[in-house]
Amino acid sequence: MAKIERAQKLFLKSLKEKFAGDIAGTKTGYYNFDNLNQSARKKEFIAAGKKIEAKRGVSMYDPYRCHLGGLPMGQRQLMTYEISGTGTFVEGDDLHFVNNPAMQQMWDDIRRTVIVGMDLAHNTLQKRLGKEITPETISEYLHIVNHAMPGAAVVQEHMVETHPSVVDDCYVKVFTGDSELADSIEKQFVLDINKLFPAKQAEALQAEVGKALWQAIHIPTIVSRTCDGGTTSRWSAMQIGMSFITAYRMCAGEAAVADLSYAAKHAGVIQMANHLPARRARGPNEPGGIIFGDFSDMIQANRKYPNDPCRASLEQVAAGAMLFDQIWLGSYMSGGVGFTQYATAAYTDNILDEFTYYGMDYIKDKYKVDWQNPNTKDKIKPTQDIVNDIGTEVTLNGMEQYEQFPTMLEDHFGGSQRASVLAAAAGLTASIATGNSNAGLNSWYLSMLLHKDGWSRLGFFGYDLQDQCGSTNSLSFRSDEGCIGEFRGPNYPNYAMNVGHQGEYAAIAGSAHWGRGDAFALSPLIKITFADPSLPFDFSEPRKMFAKGALREFEAAGERTLLMPAK
């Protein structure tokens, strides 16, 4: 390894905006910031808490009494954060998923989605019942299913139905690799691969999907929120069955209906997440069951930025940190509220961005990887020596940046924040350079060991346990010890415990493919489904969406204000 020069430091603007004075200085003033009054958001919380207390007669938000027995936060500067790559500065509180509707919607849009094949059902209808299937009948079915899926009746008399305005985010579209078939179905129902993806990616996706016809189904946000992810395939299958009955004039009780149900509920359904073992007690379509390769395909930044695998990976880190750290581990699993502070380090203030783009410069300079022209030809052979070289240089550079800019060390004031960021930069760089996700993981674990020995500190007990034993499992493929990166997931042994890893691991799996210029990482079906511009959350720009949420400009689905007294 050898340090290379990189004049552009992406974090400088953020640090200058956040911290007054010399951002490279080692000393500053404290205890004079007027504690919580320095933060507009905290002041808003205090005012809101008082109002609520007066209304309900039970005390609530009261930091001047409850925080450290009367000493509120804000003895140092309560920093704002720039959401990386957006130029938008927000308060940390605005990045808690409870305060950010865009974050909620990202998860809602995943949880309420299933992909269901139509070919099994069409076979049943054609071969068993002798029905004719044509583009016209498919379009008619799609009309009916888009009426029924949100919760409207199609067969029976005198049925209750859902109000369209509270389920307006629910719909069904279809996609196929067969351009002729796609062109013959009503446009409003078709995810047009040619229009949504760059030509090379579209070609690869169409070849993978072939002549099969798939439904991308999004049940109402309000339903999956009230029930759970396991509801999605059930709700969807019920409406699919009723729609087939209507569209093809079937008998509601005939035995063939069971075939359609079986196809929609089991044989032809792709869940977004596997169900988890009993000790974690979650059904399908809950975050712990999303394998990293599939998550890589939910995030669409490689479609939008095909010539910047680094940007594509950083967007995925942000989305993964939010979903796996803030929502999955932070709330589902631990029940805490503090995980946001750890997780946001990976997608704020352009720090991980700078470290990773340094890695891009390094692999271009030393290994001649033309990372801005992603391809399979110039990938480096993932030998141990090369992974060690890349992982070491990227980690040392990051550590030196923290040292040279004490305000950056102050920004990432917890060791686990720094560990995630340093190791992510090392892992993403090795992954993009080699096109091999396990090489990326291996680089991550080397980074952790270097960090621990260089600074004699790492994360915290639970955080770095997996990192201190991670080298050993990074290239193991024995059951219960290792796996290809794309098939690992949040419930993978050792990964199921703590914050600041899973979003980054997921991005390391994805980045191996974005570095190769692949159209998808693991599932072409999921990649196409989440390219849909009708989804409330834009999966090609997670960070921009989070910024919109923080600025209170994002309109989430599943609103029920229509059904309540106006305020």
Binding site: K27, T392, L409, Y445, S456, S474
Partner: protein
């Protein structure tokens, strides 16, 4: 052949300092003299002079089972007396504090018995029987493992290890448990943040030159760059490579 501990690799002053601190054959350098009573005040577990609260009767009185391990391992003083298990937790500034979390844990594991250290990024806790703890705490506070400004006792609300120093050279502590007062650092609160009836003077802060020469952290701005210790980096890479290869194909 008997194993001879090497206490870690490296050719830099940081590596050498780490080895010196870990090696139990080398005595710590005595730097200050905070007395027993003041250490008890700082810890905040019992009042100075009061009896040690116990978790169980003295081992000699409670009828130990016939156990071969108990015959091999002599209990520490605190264990023999039945003391409670209590803690000291120290926060180490990344700006050249003399000791750092993992280093502190290694030091304690090489030098003390009957301890339970926990290692985080800014702080390190060690738990043990109370009278044993007070003895260990004397070492941790009165020797070259400690700097009054950049090492600090903090039971909770530990935030500060990676922040810039305050203008007076002190590490940030939102509870301001200790303050620079008349040229020396004085604790006005115990480690958990309860106000003390009397200030406990832990002496003058060490100067930058001493800290740079005695620290155990690599730091490219205020100390020794990690990159400059090639032997150390090669060692970490070697450990990582061996672990990786064994995980892939677990054969000798």
């Amino acid at each position: 052949m008997a194993y001879t501990p090497q206490y870690g690799p490296g050719t830099s002053v940081v590596s050498e300092n780490r080895r010196k601190q870990m090696n139990p054959k080398l005595a710590f350098e005595k730097m200050r003299d905070v007395n027993d009573s003041d250490i008890v005040l700082l810890l905040g577990h019992r009042a100075p002079g009061s009896a040690y609260p116990t978790a169980h009767p003295p081992l000699a009185e409670q009828g130990e089972p016939d156990c071969p391990i108990r015959k091999i391992v002599a209990p520490t003083g605190g264990a023999a007396a039945g003391d409670r298990v209590r803690y000291i937790q120290l926060v180490d500034s990344m700006q050249n504090a003399p000791c750092h979390p993992y280093q502190r844990t290694y030091v304690e594991c090489y030098r003390y018995r009957g301890i339970d250290p926990g290692t985080l990024s800014g702080r390190q806790i060690v738990e043990c029987r109370e009278r044993d703890l007070e003895k260990i705490s004397e070492d941790l506070i009165n020797t070259n493992l400690f700097d009054p400004a950049r090492t600090s006792l903090r039971g909770a609300t530990v935030h500060g290890h990676s922040l810039r120093l305050a203008e007076d050279g002190m590490m940030f502590d939102m509870l301001q448990r200790c303050v620079l007062d008349g040229g020396t650092v004085k604790y006005v609160k115990n480690q958990i943040g309860e106000p003390l009836d009397k200030k406990v003077d832990v002496g003058k802060m060490m100067d930058d030159a001493w800290l740079k020469a005695n620290t155990t952290i690599f730091h490219s701005l205020v100390g020794t760059p990690f990159r400059d210790d090639a032997e150390y980096i090669e060692y970490v890479q070697r450990i990582h490579s061996l672990r990786t290869k064994y995980g892939f194909m677990p054969v000798e």
